[in-house]
Amino acid sequence: MTADLNSFAWLLDRLAYEPRRNGKLALMTDYFRRTPDPERGHALAAMTGQLAFANAKAGLIRSLITDRTDPELFALSYDYVGDLSETVALMWPAARPRDGIGHNLPAPTLAGIVAALAEAEKRELPTLLADWLDQLDETGRWALLKLITGGLRIGVSARLAKTAVAGLGALPTDAIEEVWHGLTPPYEALFAWALGEGPEPEADDPAPFRPAMLAHPMEDADFDRLDPAAFSAEWKWDGIRIQASSGLDAQDRRVTRLYSRTGEDISGAFPELVEAMQFDAAIDGELLVLREGRVQSFNVLQQRLNRKTVSARLLAEYPAHVRAYDLLVDGTEDIRALPLSERRQRLEALLAAKQPARFDISAELPFTTWDDLAAARAEPGSVGAGADADAIEGLMIKRSDSAYVPGRPKGLWFKWKRAPGLIDCVLMYAQRGHGKRSSFYSDFTFGCWRTGENGDELVPVGKAYFGFTDAELTELDRFVRKNTINRFGPVREVTHTATSGLVLEIAFEGLQRSTRHKSGVAMRFPRIHRIRWDKPPGEADRLDSIERLMVRTSATGSEPEG
């Protein structure tokens, strides 16, 4: 296969249809293996979002096709295909290479196109583009038009494309991530290294990304196995895990980048942090919004995410802050191999010396037993988190001697998230279930107390269908049948006064404000945690205590688990 744009287009075409990760990897690795430099490097750049053609607009493509086809035929075709680039690619009146005859000029390479576009003036673009379209086949034209209009969606992440490069030899993908930000297309040194034909490329980027170290969830069995004295603990903040990387380049100019956990450069969205990063270091931390020193909920932070530009108002209303967890590079020294306890001392020293605005250190929690930590996890406010307790997602528990290892190594770092919310509610209505549960009352509506016009009243806050055993279901069903005070079709209303009725301890994953619910709250995944046969309904929770919980829990589940 020749290494022109047609062959890259074939790859893109196949990737667009291949649903399996392994299938995509095999296709890409195969392409990289049989395509020479620099073509494969430009292809890698295209797939990792490093190629930016900002020149061509849909309007230019429309005008090119209008010059060459009948408007009515174009309209019928576009209507049928539904995609401009694809319609133009297929309709383009070029000599077709059926049975090998057709082209006079060889098809352009991606490398050639990149070079030509870099030099071309805007007025030259139509001719350039038309010539290329003449020389390419249908798939090649489609790929070119998608590339230059920025409409290419191939279902491949940058990470997967790098994994495919790693697949050329025996490199781990993280090794490529390490050097990635120091490299530029067409990545010749990278391919040579991946193929075992050259040395590791020099990472001359002074502020590269280092792949993040991630934690495992703490399991019950871990507590017996692990010695608390070997660990340190800190709060797990409900923000965005970031890496703040800053250094001087060969000309002594400062290069500063803020990366997401996956290595995406998000500097543009947080200019105030970039400005604050006047240090030579790479800091692992949590991005938060702080107002008057208080950590805001994830919902507030969300206002700052996914923005290409930021207004002055946004900067003022949602001031960004980094709570530092770890130090990966101190000056120019990579200290990831040092134990966490030493890295922590270096981090403290660095922050004390440089005092960067908008940066502080994540506090270590004193503890001697796991029970101490359990208490902290249950009530962060009581162990120093104060008013910020609402923005705490749980605990991070890290081996004090752990090196900083990319990925999710076993046995070093753990996360122990806060328990799901628990509230005591009163059973109000019950409804028959479906399927094999249809003979039982198994859908339960429950409520909490609030102050109404005539004193305390119950307001429904949610519905639960599970969480109970079969034996408990039989008991609940019996309770419903014995205590029915009203029937509405399949629904029974059961007694629910301060002194008579049934209290259900409800567990849930999150709370949200809701205008659709009478109570103003909606629960995520409510389930019956325990049946409180012992508790008088009058002692069940009140709506205002749920509203207090809401602030704390509403932010969960927003970012993929770290």
Binding site: A16, Y17, R96
Partner: protein, 344 residues
């Protein structure tokens, strides 16, 4: 005689009043002339059928020997007189035995081309252009976006995938008559000589082609118990079986589909196809236009597909054209014409 007096659309199909015969009728009639064996053109239950020997054979394979009361063989180029009208069968290059039917009376000649293609295909006799006064053309792929690529490239896609995923079974959906055999021939011509496995529903027609001088190499019928052992093999099955349990029991299948519709990405994705192969047994846009020029007809009737665009093209080129809306074609799930859903 005026053209519409010689051939006219009716609910039963294209009717020739002076001879009292129908071409490809969709309902049972006394006397039918059949262009080719696809189920939307060739139906059982007519009183008498005039068709090529191969088409009659295909109808017998599919419907049983008693598909009609009386069979009459049409020979290439030989004029059959019925009343004052002459009927001559010419190859259409669509599937084995497929014909265009030239109808002439009083110095007027209309060619009903049925389904046809111009691309090379060793499994059937090549299309023969016949000069005429009125040309009735299909328009299955009658939009300028349908430009079928070189079939060698499509087969290369399949064989490349087999090399890249040698542990996966490559299951290809293809229509049982014509497409499946052409696909096998193309795969053979690319040098692949391992057995090709076919769904039970295809076995008979594969045999029929072989018996009519189209060598297809080692064809192997898939039996249920063997399905698990077909890793790395090529399996061809009817389109309806591709998404079935039938195909899902094959080892880690790559789902391919051979059709002209595979040109349009949204269509291929809609079908859940992972390896679209653009192989069609219909003329593409360029070939439709070239054929219309070649037969030199001053008037063209367009049927069977995307009529509007082809009528427009004729108008732009000074050719009188009108859509001929015939009911009942392309909706039985067999020909290429089955594929579109709402848009056509």
């Amino acid at each position: 005689m005026r053209p519409h007096e010689l051939l006219t659309p009716t609910p039963s199909g294209l009717y020739c009043p002076p001879a009292d015969v129908y071409i490809d009728p969709v309902r049972p009639v006394a006397r039918a002339l059949i262009t080719h064996g696809h189920a939307d053109h060739a139906r059982a239950g007519h009183g008498a059928v005039l068709a090529t020997r191969e088409t009659l054979g295909i109808m017998a394979v599919r419907y049983g020997a008693a598909f009609t009361q009386q069979q009459q063989v049409a020979t290439w180029g030989e004029r059959v007189r019925i009343g004052e009208v002459g009927f001559t069968f010419h190859p259409a290059g669509h599937v084995l035995g497929s014909a265009q039917i030239a109808v002439d009376a009083g110095g007027l000649r209309i060619v009903a081309s049925g389904d046809y293609k111009r691309a090379a295909d060793r499994t059937c006799t090549a299309f023969e252009p016949v000069r005429c006064d009125v040309f009735i053309t299909e328009a299955t792929f009658g939009l300028p976006v349908f430009r079928h690529p070189d079939t060698a490239g499509e087969v290369a896609k399949l064989l490349d995938s087999l090399t890249l995923f040698p542990e996966r079974c490559h299951v290809i959906g293809a229509y049982a008559l014509g497409k499946a055999q052409r696909l096998v021939a193309l795969i053979r011509d690319a040098g692949y000589d391992r057995p090709i496995h076919v769904h039970g529903a295809m076995e008979k027609l594969m045999g029929f082609y072989e018996a009519h001088g189209v060598p297809l190499g080692d064809i192997h019928k898939v039996v249920a118990a063997e399905r698990k052992t077909l890793a790395g093999e090529i399996v061809i099955c009817p389109p309806s079986a591709v998404q079935d349990l039938w195909a899902r029991q094959l080892p880690d299948p790559v789902t391919a589909f051979a059709s002209g519709w595979m040109r349009i990405r949204a269509r291929a994705r809609q079908k859940g196809v992972e390896l679209p192969l653009i192989v069609s047994d219909h003329a593409d846009w360029d070939d439709l236009c070239a054929t219309i020029r070649e037969v030199g007809a001053p008037e063209v009737w367009v049927t069977h597909g995307q009529e509007d665009a082809l009528v427009r093209w004729c108008a732009m080129n000074g050719i009188r054209a009108r859509p001929l809306r015939l009911a009942g074609y392309g909706d039985d799930g067999e020909a290429d014409g089955e594929m579109p859903t709402a848009a056509s």
